[in-house]
């Protein structure tokens, strides 16, 4: 049985302060979304940058939610960088429609445009109670 998949959503940001609307669908072969994190090419791009996210018509992140709360620095191991949803909060995957709005924070010093923001989704199958990385 397929148990885990890390699905990427890539967002191209052309200019400082730009708002990019995007849509995607989760992989149909997985039951739920366990967690997510946001990766940007330069850490300073997180200043003021926000991500609004809805999955399957459910509000996951409200307007104005800063991406820096969805990311960790390089001293955190990749497996621990994920923002995990509550242990028994079930966010359906199974091909759920994702709608998002990414707004760059406008910080330009040392930032090269365009850049690519990447959202990682951790998709899971099986019983949540078997997970230990909560």
């Amino acid at each position: 049985m397929k148990l885990t998949k890390y699905q990427l959503i890539k967002i191209k940001v052309n200019t400082a302060g730009e708002t990019v609307k995007f849509t995607a669908d989760t992989d149909k072969l997985y039951e739920r979304i366990d967690g997510m994190f946001v990766s940007l090419p330069k850490d300073d791009s997180h200043f003021g940058t926000t991500l609004e996210l809805r999955i399957a018509d459910q509000e996951i992140l409200p307007e104005g939610f800063e991406t820096k709360l969805l990311a960790c620095n390089q001293s955190t191991s990749p497996n621990e960088r994920f923002f995990h949803f509550d242990h028994d909060e079930r966010i359906e995957a199974k091909g759920s429609h994702i709608e998002g709005r990414y707004t760059d924070g406008g910080f330009v010093a040392g930032i090269t445009f365009p850049y690519q923001a990447i959202i990682y989704l951790k998709l899971k199958n099986g019983n949540e109670n078997n997970d230990t990385q909560k």
């Binding site: 300073d44 620095n73 028994d88």
Partner: protein, 134 residues
């Protein structure tokens, strides 16, 4: 914290814009009526103020349920590196009364200055990690 059936997680963001040195900003906001419980609070300075860390940028005090509870009083710090090793909400875990307000204040401690001593405006977000009825 375990989600009961028909409960969902919701984030509420209270933005604070500081435009004057030493400014005191009163907080007064009605929360959505379907919120049941505030699990935690986290503070985040949105923009990049300067090249140094400022541990005592300001002071925030948060009261819940229209002044009935005073669970949170913290200093707000600015960190030049936008990302932390881990993002954790400060635990509150207080029941919310529908239609009651969040109150309190934010006080700037006159630390946000450029090299000429001129005040630099900034914004911060107060995040409430809540449980809500579906």
């Amino acid at each position: 914290m375990t989600l009961k059936s028909k409960e969902i997680r919701r984030f509420v963001i209270l933005p604070v814009d500081v435009t004057e040195d030493g400014q005191i900003i009163h907080l007064d906001r009605k929360l959505p009526a379907h919120l049941l419980r505030c699990k935690g609070i986290i503070l985040s300075v949105k923009n990049c103020i300067c090249t140094n860390d400022i541990p005592h940028l300001g002071e925030v005090s948060v009261l819940l349920n229209s002044w009935q509870l005073h669970p949170f009083h913290h200093m707000v710090g600015f960190k030049r590196e936008p990302l932390s090793k881990k993002n954790s909400f400060v635990e509150i875990n207080e029941k919310l009364i529908p239609n009651f307000t969040v109150n309190g204040f934010y006080r700037d401690l006159e630390q946000s200055k450029d090299h000429e001593g001129k005040f630099i405006p900034y914004s911060l977000n107060i995040y409430f990690d809540c449980l809500a009825s579906e």
